[in-house]
């Protein structure tokens, strides 16, 4: 996928002015959050399960060489062909070669963020293979020629009217404003693809080391179709998705759907292991797993190792006030929200995405909901400081921060500034707030409105209130 992360400011401005997107975001993120909170509240063991999941993931990352070797050995024992790609270019080459060698002309794909990282579809199209996205949301945005804007609800920015127009134009369906009818049209169209495709392509939510299995978690059932019907199955998965044992899987199945959509479990969990066995009436004759490094081993080596614990539930997106306001496209690459603000700079290089760690208010909501306890706000701060050390901040930003620190350390100076700001602020803004400041402060106010400085500073108000309470 094309990288445009450093344009976060410009992208957000566009997103904030997009009325359809704003409505969709308001509707969606709120609902996701409410469902997630209700599911967590209804499951008293959530906290203990989360702790356990976090520890298992930590253990895996600390011994990834051992677990990944075990996974590969077990998978190969059951007839799976395992490929390893160092970077996106190599992954594309391998994927195209697999499709060519298998004689595939049509592939049906279920959702895979990892495949977005390597621009999988373009690679296969380059090899003459048609790739059809089968997740409904992905299918819609593929018809629209766009990129996903949410990990688990990629078409969150599309209205039913827009979708009906897409189906009219590309599938020849009559217009409708009924969502069940739209779903039925996609079902009919995609069922035919599943039944005729030579290859099913999937991601992988988990790789089970002790059995060599790939686990797919879906609600629509597309992952299931694509791993049972076509004669070839290709799973494109990041190396960090390993879990030690089949017995650990339930722990993750208890946190992932609850965090993602507020379900106790998703409609479907497929655990697939190797090729069809003698006597099996169906199932793929060939199975390939393409394991992606693509920057992961470098992350593993550094201080951000724990970001690789991520299970891609998207709870941090829904909880994030910045994501709620600007949506996924603003982040300019595959991953959005707090996880994207950390993962993207680490995968593509900080200079290419230095704007993203600033795309946060550091409110901590992401860390509160993360089902594997990734310290996202700490990582965001750490990345900001890395950006400064690498000279990726403007001298103006650095000077402003130094000045701010200087003032905050001197109580008397702060008090004087507060008093002056209170008087001047109220006078100039008539108490209404600050919408735009002249250069060099315009960088701050371009995309933010600030309240006017209070006539009476907070610390004074605090003193008075505390005094009143005795």
């Amino acid at each position: 996928m094309e990288l445009n992360a450093n344009a976060f400011g410009r992208n957000s401005r566009k997103a904030l002015l997009d009325k359809t997107l704003q409505e969709a975001l308001g509707r969606t993120t709120g609902r996701f959050q409410a469902h997630r909170d209700a599911a967590v509240a209804a499951f008293p063991e959530f906290e203990a399960t989360r702790e356990r999941a976090s520890r298992i993931k930590r253990d895996v990352l600390d011994h990834l060489d051992t677990y990944l070797a075990r996974f590969i050995a077990e998978a190969e024992k059951r007839g799976t062909i395992v490929h390893v790609a160092r970077d996106a270019a190599q992954a594309r080459e391998i994927a195209a070669r697999i499709a060519r060698d298998e004689g595939v002309t049509l592939a049906v794909k279920s959702k895979s963020m990892a495949s977005e990282e390597i621009s999988f579809n373009e690679a296969l199209q380059g090899a003459g293979v048609t790739v059809v996205e089968s997740d409904l949301g992905e299918f819609i945005i593929q018809l629209a020629g766009e990129a996903p804007s949410h990990i688990i609800a990629p078409a969150v920015h599309k209205t039913r009217e827009q979708i009906s127009r897409l189906f009219e134009r590309h599938l020849g369906e009559p217009p409708t404003d009924s969502i069940p009818e739209l779903v039925g049209m996609a079902r009919k169209h995609l069922r035919a693809k599943f039944l005729s495709a030579g290859m099913g392509v999937s991601g992988g939510n988990f790789l089970v080391a002790d059995t060599g299995s790939v686990v797919l978690v879906t609600n629509e059932g597309n992952g299931r179709m694509g791993t049972v019907l076509p004669r070839v199955h290709l799973a494109v998965v990041g190396i960090e998705k390993v879990i030690p044992r089949m017995a650990d899987l339930p722990t993750f199945l208890r946190i992932l759907p609850r965090s993602a959509s507020g379900q106790a479990i998703s409609s479907y969990v497929s655990i697939v292991t190797g090729t069809r066995r003698a006597g099996d009436p169906e199932g793929p004759e060939r199975m390939h797993i393409l394991l992606l490094d693509c920057g992961r081993s470098a992350i593993l080596e550094g201080k951000y190792r724990e970001i690789l614990k991520c299970v891609r539930c998207a709870a941090c997106l829904n909880a994030c006030p910045v994501y709620q306001s600007v949506g996924g496209h603003a982040y300019g690459w595959v991953y959005s929200g707090p996880i994207g603000a950390v993962l993207t700079p680490l995968l593509v290089g900080l200079p290419e995405a230095a704007a993203l760690p600033d795309a946060s208010t550091l409110c901590g909501a992401c860390a509160d909901v993360c089902p594997v306890k990734i310290p996202l706000p700490d990582f965001l701060l750490e990345l900001r400081s890395d950006a400064r050390e690498q000279g990726l901040k403007t001298p103006g930003e650095i000077a402003a921060m130094k000045g701010y620190a200087g003032v905050m350390k001197r109580a008397g100076l702060l008090e004087a500034i507060e008093r002056i700001a209170g008087v001047l602020g109220q006078f100039f803004t008539k108490g209404k707030g600050i919408g735009g400041l002249p250069y060099p402060f315009s960088g701050w106010t371009e995309r933010r409105d600030f309240p006017a400085p209070a006539a009476r500073p907070f610390r004074k108000q605090w003193k008075i209130k505390r005094g009143a309470r005795g």
Partner: protein, 212 residues
């Protein structure tokens, strides 16, 4: 490619900092109380229904007429079941007069039959914790009735209902069949305007027939 793999493992070993190779491994969950069979089945009924499934229980005559009615309401005209699944065959054949329904085969459905279908299959386990039906490919069993049908009818012997996911996996993952599927409620999507809609790719209705 072997070289690329070796090079990956060199990078990983360097990153993991030359640990002694001993993997700690988490202790397995300390077995939450496993309810006696009666309670497990009651919990399964509750969770299966909460997940959007329709649960029917004997006596058989009443169940058959209820099931027939549910299938007719969904517009079902054809029934199919695995060749070697005696319980499914018995129930599907007994249902024919309640339709009228035709009997068809998984192959015909796979060829792209235009009938609205109900696919029957005996479940290998029910999981009370989540209301989940477990089907595997072990022993050459087919998954097509739960995959291709518009309505999926699972035959669930009460003795196969377990409490937690771990139990189902410890029984069914032995020998790691090619496919282990957890099916919970109907196929759903909320990808259009966050509106929950059934029947995205899989069955629009999930029915469990508890036997015993």
């Amino acid at each position: 490619m072997v070289n690329e793999r070796e090079s990956l493992f060199r990078r990983l070993s360097a990153a993991c900092g030359g640990h002694d190779g001993a993997v700690a491994g988490e202790p397995l969950p300390g077995g939450a109380p496993l309810a006696p069979e009666g309670d497990r089945v009651a919990l399964f009924e509750k969770t299966f229904t909460a997940a959007g499934g329709i649960l029917l229980r004997a006596p058989v005559e009443k169940t058959l007429s209820d099931l027939g009615e549910t299938l007719r309401a969904e517009g079902v005209t054809a029934l199919f079941f695995p060749e070697d699944d005696a319980a499914s065959r018995e129930i599907a054949e007994a249902l024919v007069p309640f339709g009228p329904f035709n009997l068809t085969t998984a192959e015909e459905v796979r060829e792209g039959s235009t009938s609205v279908t109900a696919g029957f299959r005996t479940a290998e386990a029910g999981i009370a914790e989540t209301g989940t039906i477990v089907e595997t490919s072990a022993g050459g069993k087919t998954l097509l009735p739960g995959l291709l049908a518009d309505v999926h009818v699972s035959i669930v012997p009460v003795t196969s209902v377990v409490g937690r996911m771990e139990e189902a996996l410890s029984i069914l993952a032995a020998g790691t069949p090619r496919n282990i599927s957890f099916l919970t409620g109907p196929s759903k999507t909320a990808d259009i305007e966050q509106t929950l809609t059934v029947g995205a790719h899989g069955p629009k209705k999930a029915i469990a027939l508890l036997l015993g």
